[in-house]
Symmetry: C2
Subunit: 225 residues, 2 copies
């Protein structure tokens, strides 16, 4: 059965990149890129990530297995507009997805078909529609929310996310773009409950997978008495 | 050799309590308490926590072992003033620490000696002094920063923390008091690096222990090429 999943590399303090680059100067020299590079570094050393980028070598380790599993489980992707724009040039003619990608955007654009099975369909009627279109295209496999963090948060907020896997890099950034921030729209006496379903430790990164249970009120208890 | 350690229960989004209670109305009815109760609930069900509070029963499980280990490793504690004030009544005549506690405060106060080995010494000349006094009193065991979160952050910021263990409850609170927030004083191109040394999974909580490596500049990399 198709699940809607998301996985994202974050720092121990929950940032998936440094402070948002404002468009002045090159992104690569920005604090945003420096934070992003740090939290995703573990992946660039993994064979399975490199193979998808057309790069040889890398480690064949548990991190590589987790990346391979993640790509393998996805029958279609949902992606934010900013990530799609930022990836368009670096991903080149054969992007790493090898599956249909549905980009949530306000700007209509013709569907783009790339080599290797990747296509980009631009969806202008919202996140729920993009998830529904991806579900229909996933052929029974999972719908993966590819990112960025803002889109993952929107899908979680809308109650559409079934599974969230965080790859927690052992670093405190102190500032940046945070996956789980105030935009979740929770009131102070309410939370989103999850259930950890898999924890994989590694010196470079801790992988924690959660099933999303859903919103629930916060309650008091007797403190064991 | 004495290490300076801290351990704290936090939500998946890094909060150790709900939004700070401002003093109007009872703390127990506040959003702060509701968040705090949710992230610390796992501990109240553990036998080792209950035993320290004088409550029978509870589970003898891995969570209980981790609590027992944490109490057992501490030769002295450093504590924030707000936590010490908040605990004074509920901890009663025999507080759970059974060791000297050094409270960081601006208000001078006579040392308080309780039953069972717990004493409270009020330190008015700063965090570093409190840590040094606790180190001298720890008898070769560890100095544990008991909390609250604000004091843990100050100790981390000052470069005085050797080990940080987070007990990550599987819940997103969305708002509240965050352990790792902007007060860390990191610039945008700098981070605090850590090394994960132990990960213990449990359905109620994920325990992740880190050795604190220290501040380091954020760098770019070749992305595997």
């Amino acid at each position: 059965m198709t699940k809607v999943t998301a996985q994202l590399s974050v720092s121990l303090d929950g940032f998936y990149a440094g402070p948002r680059h404002d468009g002045n100067g090159d992104w690569i020299t920005s604090a945003e890129s420096h934070g992003f590079y740090r939290v995703t570094r573990w992946a660039t050393e993994a064979m399975a990530w490199r193979e998808r980028q057309g790069i040889t070598g890398g480690r064949r380790d548990v991190n590589s297995e987790i990346i391979a599993e993640s790509f393998g489980a996805a029958g279609a992707y949902v992606m934010g507009r900013r990530m799609a724009d930022g990836g368009e040039v670096p991903w080149g003619d054969e992007p790493p997805f090898r599956a249909p990608v549905f980009v949530v955007t306000h700007r209509p654009r013709e569907r783009v078909v790339r080599q290797g099975g990747t296509s980009f369909t631009y969806v202008t009627d919202g996140v729920a529609s993009a998830v529904a279109q991806a579900r229909a295209a996933a052929g029974g496999k999972d719908v993966a929310v590819a990112g960025g963090g803002s889109l993952v948060r929107q899908v979680l907020r809308a109650g559409l996310l079934d599974e969230l896997e965080l790859h927690v890099a052992p670093v405190v950034l102190g500032t940046g773009m945070r996956l789980l921030d105030a935009d979740l729209g929770l009131d102070e006496f309410e939370a989103i409950e999850l259930t950890p379903t898999r924890v994989v430790p590694d010196p470079q990164v801790t992988h924690i997978r959660y099933a999303v249970t859903g919103r629930a009120p916060l309650t008091l208890d007797s403190r064991g008495r």
